[in-house]
């Protein structure tokens, strides 16, 4: 990905006639993103999901059902089978007679919270480690690059499971574990770009002016990396959401008393043959969220890296 060069090049200010509005690379990227219908639809889905998560207590009040209470009288049939979607329970109930709709909406809170917070932590760590490794080089780089390789190639789910099971599942623990196993992909890209950028003349100039390594890394190098980091971070969110759901599904995620999509799907596994809604709605919510983030990530990449498309076009023309 060579997003950086483009985003970094300053617009030739003053060259344009007065009548033409000078637009920054970010404004250009934004206008490309807005024209991308799939990306905008994904963004709307994500915003709706966030709104639903924020308004979860409102839905609980509206239906009169709490996410944890068991409505054994109304929520289960005489044979103890979950009740299907209807006026009383919008998306049906689960095996304990709890309201599946309210639980799904509360589950969105966990998924989004863990997904976004873990991504922020991983992005921060990845950027700092990648910058330090790429800028300093030598033994520092050797050690950090090896660490990146190890984290990238090790059976992280197994280690995550072991960590969670010995330390005990909790929201904070799950988030930290996911962040710990996610920073490496960002660090690798940042390191590679830093290695290339630090050879440029303006970095040499900054150094000869007496700028500290800290200043060079964060003021001179980092701005060039903002575009690829945004793309990677957007694509890291669905990965973190899947990670959290998988841990919860295995019973090693957040506290089982908190409704989360992974735990709901684990419970549904022995019931979906009598209650399809029990599987379909949490699975649908999870897929919709990860799909929306992935599509948005692709859209952001296309918007920030218009060159890839243009190169694409010339190659097509050159093809016999």
């Amino acid at each position: 990905m060579s997003v950086t060069d483009l985003a970094a090049e300053p617009m030739p200010a003053g060259l344009e006639p007065e009548s033409i509005e000078g637009r920054s690379p970010w404004r250009l990227a934004w206008s490309r993103l807005v024209r991308d219908r799939v990306a905008i639809a994904s963004l709307i889905v994500i915003l709706l999901m966030v709104a639903a998560a924020l308004a979860a207590p409102l839905f609980a009040a509206l239906t009169g059902h709490s996410p944890t209470d068991q409505y054994r009288e109304t929520g289960l049939t005489d044979q103890g089978i979950p009740v299907g979607p209807g006026a009383e329970f919008w998306l049906g109930t689960d095996s304990l007679g709890r309201d599946l709709f309210v639980r799904t909406v509360y589950g969105a809170r966990i998924s989004l919270l863990v997904g976004v917070v873990a991504t922020l932590l991983a992005t921060f760590a990845g950027v700092v480690i990648g910058l330090v490794a790429g800028y300093f080089g030598g033994i520092v780089d050797t050690i950090l690059a090896r660490a990146i390789d190890v984290v990238l190639s090790f059976p992280y789910l197994i280690f995550a499971m072991a960590l969670v099971s010995v330390i005990g599942p909790s929201l904070v623990m799950t988030t930290l574990v996911i962040a710990f196993f996610s920073w490496a992909s960002i660090a690798r890209i940042v390191r590679g770009q830093t290695l290339a950028i630090k050879e440029k003349e303006y970095i040499e100039a900054a150094r000869s002016l007496g700028a500290s390594p800290m200043r060079i890394m964060f003021v001179d190098v980092l701005p060039n990396l903002v575009a690829p980091v945004i793309v990677l971070a957007t694509l890291l969110v669905p990965t973190a959401i899947v990670f959290e759901a998988t841990l919860s599904w295995l019973g090693l995620g957040v506290d089982v008393r908190i409704p989360s999509w992974g735990a709901m799907l684990a419970e549904s596994q022995s019931f979906f043959r009598v209650a399809w809604w029990y599987l379909i709605f949490p699975a649908g919510a999870l897929l919709l969220t990860t799909l929306a983030f992935n599509l948005l990530g692709d859209g952001v990449r296309d918007a920030l890296d218009p060159r890839s498309e243009r190169l694409f076009a010339t190659r097509r023309k050159g093809k016999p």
Binding site: S153, P155, L163, V242, A245, G251, W276, L279, R315, K319
Partner: protein, 320 residues
């Protein structure tokens, strides 16, 4: 070549040692006493002390680790805390379903991923390419366990209740040597589960890599000297384009173990992955150590094989 191999093997052994140390320490830095959990809630302190002594848990940490390493060199991974079964026997007993799953799944995702990736690249921008891109995003967004649950839902509930026939049983494992046809029937859904996400990633990777290679000058040379399209793509293009795919395959060996745990759990295959999950939940250290070392061994082996494969794929790469 020989010197390269020796260096890689030495480094591989070093990595394995690090992994063994890390896993070993992980179980000690955390609260939780295996002796206490084996003894049960109402055990007297004497019983617990006796169990600790029998397991060698009363000895200093360094001595315990040294004993572990000594036994490891004799091919003895210790005994499960729970049923006293030798860990090597436990792994040997359960390797069948895991090997079937991993080998079949990996073959399937390579064939689908590379095959569809090539078609997509050679027909870039066509309808086929767009449809593929849609499937790729959907595939990448799917958590492995959700794929498994949905397959069970469709094949073991929807189709079997509508048609009254069960095409693929939703669980258990039949050894290949007992009944190959039944083995296949049992493995198809797990294979699809394990390979969906990976096939999507490999499709994207192959397409991108091949498109880039097809824009190179030497490809134009090949076309100019009159090579047919098929020869250009397969002989000249694919060879170079497969390098990133092979790199990814090396990285994915570690990932695969996580996917294996999930897939085995969905379908109840009773392989090494499920044993690992059980052992992790039970804090059964010898079993966890055994499985993690086994996985790490394959990760290290894969990275060496990948480096050798480079030199075959790309004549510019010389092993040194």
């Amino acid at each position: 070549m020989i010197r390269f191999l020796i260096r890689r093997v030495v480094f591989g052994v070093f990595v394995l040692w690090l992994v063994s140390l890390g896993t070993f320490l992980l179980f000690f830095v955390v609260p939780g006493d295996p002796a206490r959990s084996i003894a049960g809630r109402q055990a007297t302190p004497e019983t617990i002390a006796l169990i600790r002594e029998r397991l060698g848990l009363d000895e200093p940490l360094a001595v315990q680790y040294w004993t572990f390493l000594k036994n490891l060199f004799r091919g003895d991974l210790g005994y499960s805390y729970y049923n006293n079964q030798p860990v090597t026997a436990l792994i040997a007993e359960r390797i069948g379903p895991t090997a079937s799953l991993v080998i079949g799944g990996a073959l399937l995702w390579l064939v689908i991923g590379v095959g569809v990736g090539i078609l997509s690249a050679t027909h870039a921008r066509s309808l086929l390419d767009r449809v593929t891109a849609g499937f790729v995003v959907a595939g990448i967004s799917m958590p492995t366990f959700v794929v498994g649950l949905m397959l069970l839902f469709v094949f073991n509930y929807l189709l079997s209740t509508v048609l009254g026939i069960t095409f693929f049983p939703g669980g258990q494992y039949t050894p290949l040597e007992e009944d190959p046809a039944d083995w296949l029937r049992h493995m198809i859904l797990p294979w699809i589960t394990l390979c969906t996400v990976q096939a999507a990633i490999y499709t994207r990777l192959t397409r991108g890599s091949l498109l880039e290679v097809l824009g190179e000058d030497y490809i134009r040379t090949a076309r100019a000297k009159g090579d047919g399209n098929r020869r250009v793509v397969v002989v000249h293009g694919l060879r170079a384009a497969l390098t990133p795919v092979v790199t990814q395959l090396g990285v994915d060996v570690g990932y695969m173990l996580g996917g294996v745990v999930v897939t085995e759990s969905v379908f109840g295959l009773g392989g090494v992955g499920q044993a690992a999950l059980q052992a992790i939940v039970n804090l059964d250290r010898p079993v966890v150590m055994g499985v993690v070392l086994l996985a790490a061994f394959f990760v290290v082996l894969a990275s060496i094989v990948v480096d050798i494969a480079y030199s075959f794929l790309d004549p510019r790469v010389r092993l040194s």
